[in-house]
């Protein structure tokens, strides 16, 4: 692998590593989402530094040019991250659905309680079942 692309890959991976760690430090990124980012940065950094491993990987996968193997690994990690986020999003939307439902049920219960305190009970019962009058 040419030394220029090697330098670019190393610099990129290091910057990614620093940004992720800094975001975790400032609590802008939760650890459980940072782990996968850190793993991808470390693997890319490792392959960029350790040329032998990258060459062996490229040969094993039948990739002629070693830098392409690095791109391949990076793309694989991106797909993994996207899938991870889709899963997280599904969980979040499920959670917000449950919250909305609980919220609505509780709100209705509060309104009913307030209503029954503000007005005589018989009045509301009559309103609900007008047939009681007959």
């Amino acid at each position: 692998m040419g030394s220029r692309i090697q330098i670019v890959a190393i610099v990129g991976a290091v910057v990614l590593l620093i940004v992720v760690l800094e975001m975790v430090r400032r609590r802008r990124l939760m650890e459980r989402y940072a782990l996968l980012w850190l793993l991808s940065a470390i693997v890319i950094l490792g392959l960029a530094v350790w040329q032998d491993a990258l060459n062996k990987l490229a040969e094993a996968m039948g990739i002629v040019s070693a830098p392409n193997a690095l791109f391949f690994v990076a793309v694989a990690f991106i797909l993994l991250l996207l899938l991870h986020f889709s899963a997280a999003m599904s969980r979040l939307s499920d959670q917000s659905k449950v919250l909305a439902q609980r919220h609505a049920v509780l709100e209705q219960r509060i309104r009913t309680l307030e209503d029954s305190r503000l007005r005589p009970a018989g009045e509301r019962a009559l309103e609900r079942e007008p047939t009681l009058l007959r």
């Binding site: 782990l35 009913t112 609900r128 079942e129």
Partner: protein, 286 residues
């Protein structure tokens, strides 16, 4: 003669449950409210149905008078909620639009929390006829092992449901697949006009499908070894408003439900049993 709901001995039960010391758990699971006087609930999911909601509520009061009426306002932007409240229904206000599945599940949650024994879903657009509810009740009363009674448009020979051919074709495809899976004839798996007993209520309060829930719900009934029967009902075309399934979305609807059906088949346990890992959890790693 209507098949009445089992009436609750109100005074006795309330006296038994509203003990002076209000333990937290009791307050959550059994509300100390003045209702329900009876144990049947009609859930009306409504999203921008101001044209028809009042008629639906009135018809329910007239033809299914032993049912409490709960309108689930699914984030409507028109006057659906105000009209429903003025018409005397209880209203759940969802803070944003959840779609039909989320709205109906809110109804199941309400029914479970308030200890209802029967819940019927009646769509807010007026296509379900509340006069048919007592026939659903009769069917359920005829056999205690029945958990869900579904009103089907396609069981009467003399009546053609006036829907576009594309929609009917889709319904029949689902019906065919579900009938094979369940080894029982399912003629109208997209009908939302269903009566549920307490077992079905507690199942669906825990887990109800998201976007277009009726078909998947049939599959869940099967997976959980509940029993569903269909009876013929008449349905109207919509009174007003816009259907949740536009013509452009039909294809998406078909694909999504087919995916759900086949994935649902392969799923070992569609719903967690007590003691399982929570399906929705904030504390999960990658």
């Amino acid at each position: 003669m209507l098949v009445g709901c089992p009436r609750l001995p109100v005074a006795g039960r309330d006296a038994a449950t509203s003990t002076p010391q209000l333990s937290g758990e009791r307050a959550v699971s059994r509300p100390v409210l003045q209702y329900p006087h009876n144990r049947c609930l009609a859930v009306v999911p409504a999203y921008n149905e101001e044209a028809s909601i009042v008629d639906v509520i009135r018809a329910l009061r007239r033809h299914a008078s032993d049912f409490d009426v709960l309108v689930v306002d699914d984030g409507s932007t028109d006057d659906t909620r105000q009209l429903a409240e003025a018409a005397g229904a209880d209203v759940l206000r969802l803070p944003f639009n959840l779609g039909i599945g989320g709205a109906v599940q809110a109804g199941f949650t309400f029914a479970l929390e308030h200890g209802y024994d029967r819940m019927v879903q009646v769509d807010g657009d007026g296509q379900h006829d509340p006069r048919e509810i007592h026939r659903l009740m009769q069917a359920m009363a005829s056999d205690p092992s029945i958990d869900v009674v579904c009103g089907s448009r396609f069981l009467t020979a003399d009546y053609r449901y006036p829907a576009p051919i594309s929609r009917r074709t889709g319904i029949h495809i689902f019906a065919f697949i579900l009938s094979r899976i369940m080894r029982q004839r399912v003629s109208d798996p997209t009908s939302g006009f269903r009566l549920y007993n307490d077992r079905a209520i507690s199942l669906f309060a825990r887990d109800y499908p998201h976007d277009y829930p009726e078909v998947e719900a049939v599959l869940m009934v099967h997976h959980h070894r509940l029993r569903m029967v269909e009876i013929p009902v008449r349905m109207f075309l919509r009174n007003g408003g816009v259907s949740s399934i536009g013509s452009g979305k039909s294809v998406y609807y078909m694909l999504k439900v087919l995916l759900a059906l086949f994935v649902g088949l392969a799923r070992v346990r569609p719903v967690p049993e007590p003691g399982d890992v929570a399906p929705v959890a904030a504390e999960q790693g990658i």
